[in-house]
């Protein structure tokens, strides 16, 4: 029997708490101070982030080899239940704080230049600080409730940043959409929290995991067995709630990591400033879903994991298709992000815990790099704007040939693209290979229909290569199409390479996308990452775990290893080749590209409109809810309130009827009585003398008579 209080009792003072508070406090300080100091907000908050990054990296290096640290305390008490908070620093957390801080810092630097001319700079940097704070909160806290709180805060800051240019209607709508989609996921996650709390009476993840070991499946019921303050507790729920808990927690990840069916918010979120897209919608916030899945990984049972894997694969494939035909450079990258997140989620689903996290890290670098490069292009093209020259600087139809004018950007973009496509020598290859390997092994064991899931994943590999090189070819090769669109030759000469403040972050991120950073090795499992962050032990009650990731036999993996690598490399190269033939400078498609108003053909339109998912939601769900709301408001006003008013009116009518009755029937009778009694009264009016004394006298007579009657 395990004692709950032992698991959640506050720990003794640990000097580590200071580091943690510093880590959380500095971004918060950046948020608050940026709102007040205004003028020097950018440099000040960038400096703060630099300090924070330094701390994070220092911590990562100095505590890497130590044991995981866990610090617990009491937040508040609810009845006799203690709501604890806990920090937990393991290697994953250390890695994540370093990653979040580093990318956040680079984005701060980039933003200093990018947002230079915006008058709301302080607000922008404040939001970035708040975001960093919330993101670090998710990483550092090891308590589902507090993670949920920071989870929602991250969603909130994302709302603020997407809607940063709130004067643009599209931006504010996109912000709303992002928040509500996230909220849907969060509602699911809250359900997961409810289930776990009902079973374990705590949110502390370590405690939940420990208690999960001691829970059992008995007669289809999921029974949690432990002692609380010495009292034996047996919480029992229907066994299906165990899967439900896992799926509900996954719902949170679906919202935040933009998985099917809630992924529609992410492309719209590109309305926010580009550095924000790099930080939040590529590297960190959207990865939080994967991080959460990793944290609760051991609590998911087989069914839940299956759902996770399938959703991940579907998302990866759908988004990869959608990315094929976008015209907006950021949208391509957004769909690409969704697709890659799908990979990570699928990885978790198939049990490739460390491979999924590995992809999270590599993706953070190359995708942030891609976004920053796109940001440089947008920023530099924006400078062409003048009174007579107006165009959409994010539209790839106006670009082309930029390789000549922006060589450094091109190089960075290319490296990141190669990493994204998963070609050997770049980080993306390592992690993607690891995921595919695990997924294939998983399908081998499960067999049957599960090969379709793997099929989707492999299809996405080739699609990824196609869409990203489409972008490379269309943006950087051939001539500058804007010249011919606006009929202004020589415009190309005005395009300049971005300055160093813009370039350095992009370069650093590109460097981070080369596989040598993770180890001079072509095998993923030999990288330091996979060495240090290993798969955890499975905890869910035995009978519900039809299989677990430790069951993935070494032999299967070994035998598959070579094949998977060959297939994925050849798919990626194949994609590159296809893309080359379609979009190389002299290809037909590339030549007429600038005139394409919208992709032709059913497939093209499905891709362009992202499977019409948005339209479906708009037409079916949002409309339905609004109409329902209107109908209910009508019901409320006319029927319910009408009923009440009708009741009142009926009463008034009734009162009138009664009045009539009263006046003519009863009053008639009364009048008769009155006239009769009036006559009698006339006769007796002498008694009514108007003299008070007479009244007293008669009253007294009556009293005496009464007394006499009573006495006798």
């Amino acid at each position: 029997m395990i004692e709950l209080q032992d698991l959640i009792s506050p720990t003794d003072y640990d000097p580590m708490i200071n580091w943690i508070l510093l880590l959380l406090g500095i971004p918060l300080l950046s948020f608050i101070s940026s709102l007040f100091i205004k003028k020097n907000a950018p440099i000040w908050s960038t400096f703060l982030l630099l300090v924070n990054t330094g701390i994070a990296i220092f911590m990562a290096f100095s505590f890497w080899y130590g044991d995981s640290v866990s610090i617990k305390g009491v937040w508040f008490t609810l009845g006799d239940t203690v709501m604890s908070y806990s920090f937990y620093l393991d290697r994953l957390a250390l890695l994540m704080i370093a990653l979040v801080n580093l990318i956040s810092f680079l984005v701060h630097v980039f933003s200093m230049e990018y947002m230079k001319s915006d008058r709301n700079k302080p607000r922008y940097f404040a939001y970035l600080g708040l975001f960093t704070f919330s993101m670090l909160g998710i990483v550092l806290f090891h308590n589902l409730l507090l993670m949920f709180i920071f989870w929602e805060l991250v969603g909130f800051t994302s709302y603020l940043l997407i809607g940063f240019w709130f004067e643009k209607k599209t931006a504010s709508l996109a912000a709303n959409k992002a928040f509500i989609m996230n909220r849907i996921g969060d509602a699911g996650m809250l359900t997961g929290l409810m289930i776990l709390f009902a079973q374990f009476s705590t949110f502390d993840l370590e405690a939940v995991k420990a208690l999960m070991i001691f829970s059992e499946i008995e007669d289809g019921n999921w029974v949690a067995h432990f002692t609380n303050n010495g009292q034996e507790v047996m919480n029992s729920l229907d066994g299906r709630w165990l899967s439900a808990a896992g799926i509900a927690l996954f719902c949170g990840a679906v919202g935040k990591s933009a998985q099917f069916p809630l992924q529609v918010w992410l492309p719209d979120a590109m309305e926010g400033p580009t550095p924000v897209s790099a930080l939040i919608h590529a590297a960190t916030m959207v990865a939080a879903g994967v991080f959460l899945l990793a944290r609760v990984f051991v609590l998911l049972d087989a069914q839940a994991l299956e759902v996770v894997a399938i959703v991940g694969a579907i998302t990866a494939f759908m988004a990869a298709i959608a990315a094929l035909s976008q015209f907006d450079i950021k949208k391509v990258l957004a769909y690409s992000t969704i697709s890659q997140l799908g990979y990570m989620v699928m990885a978790i689903g198939v049990g490739a815990y460390s491979a999924g996290l590995f992809h999270l890290v590599t993706h953070a670098f190359f995708k942030a790099g891609l976004f920053l490069c796109a940001g440089i292009i947008i920023h530099q093209l924006h400078k062409l704007h003048s009174d007579e020259i107006k165009f959409n600087e994010q539209d790839i139809r106006v670009m082309g040939g930029l390789r000549l004018k922006m060589p450094v950007t091109f190089l960075c973009f290319l490296i990141c693209s190669l990493a994204l496509a998963g070609l050997p020598g770049f980080s993306g290859f390592l992690s993607k290979d690891a995921i595919l390997l695990n997924a294939t092994a998983w399908a081998e064991i499960k067999g049957g229909g599960y090969y379709i899931v793997i099929g989707l994943a492999y299809a996405s590999v080739i699609l990824t290569a196609i869409y990203i090189f489409r972008l490379v070819f269309l943006v950087f090769t051939r001539g500058f199409r804007l010249e011919s669109i606006l009929n202004k030759p020589g415009l190309m000469d005005k395009v300049k390479e971005g300055n160093l403040i813009l370039l350095i972050p992009a370069i650093l991120l590109a460097v981070g996308s080369i596989s040598i950073v993770f180890g001079a090795n072509v095998k993923a499992e030999n990288t330091w990452f996979m060495q240090f962050i290993t798969n955890p032990i499975y905890l869910v009650p035995e009978s519900y775990a039809a299989f677990s990731l430790v069951d993935l036999s070494e032999a299967t993996i070994k035998s598959l290893h070579g094949w998977v690598a060959i297939v994925s490399i050849s798919l990626a190269v194949g994609g590159l080749v296809i893309s080359y033939f379609l979009y190389r400078p002299i290809s037909k498609k590339a030549l007429i590209f600038q005139d394409a108003p919208e992709p032709r053909g059913a497939l093209g339109r499905i891709s362009f409109n992202h499977w019409y998912q948005d339209v479906l939601y708009e037409k079916a769900i949002v409309k339905f809810i609004v109409i329902k709301g209107k109908a209910l408001a009508w019901f409320d006003e006319k029927i319910l309130d009408g009923f009440v008013n009708g009741l009142a009116k009926t009463q008034v009518v009734l009162a009138h009827i009664v009045r009539w009755f009263d006046k003519y029937i009863i009053d008639g009778f009364v009048h008769l009585t009155v006239s009769t009694s009036g006559r009698i009264g006339q006769a007796t009016r002498s008694i009514q003398s108007g003299n008070v004394q007479t009244y007293i006298l008669s009253a007294m007579i009556l009293l005496i008579l009464l007394l006499l009657w009573l006495m006798i």
Binding site: R685, Q688, G690, Q693, I696, M700
Partner: protein
Amino acid sequence: MMPVDHLLILGAGLFVIGFIVVTTRKNAIAVLIGIELMLNAANINLVVFSRFDPDFLQGQVFALFVITVAAAETAVALAIVLKVYRHFKTADLDKISELRG
């Protein structure tokens, strides 16, 4: 010590006298005098029984309040009488018969 009964009879007598005065006099002030008598009669009863309640003395306290209220009542009543006199030019109650049916 006078027996309780006798005191009560005294009170009853006083009360009845007051009552007769109230009912038979035409002059408003005479009526007032009658009322005072009745109040005094009540007070006698209160004080008498208060003898047997030494701890709380409720009777005495109540008598005190009756006296006070009587004072207030007289003041107001006389004011009314004056007003009535000015209005009807008489203080005779049988001539003031606004309430006659």
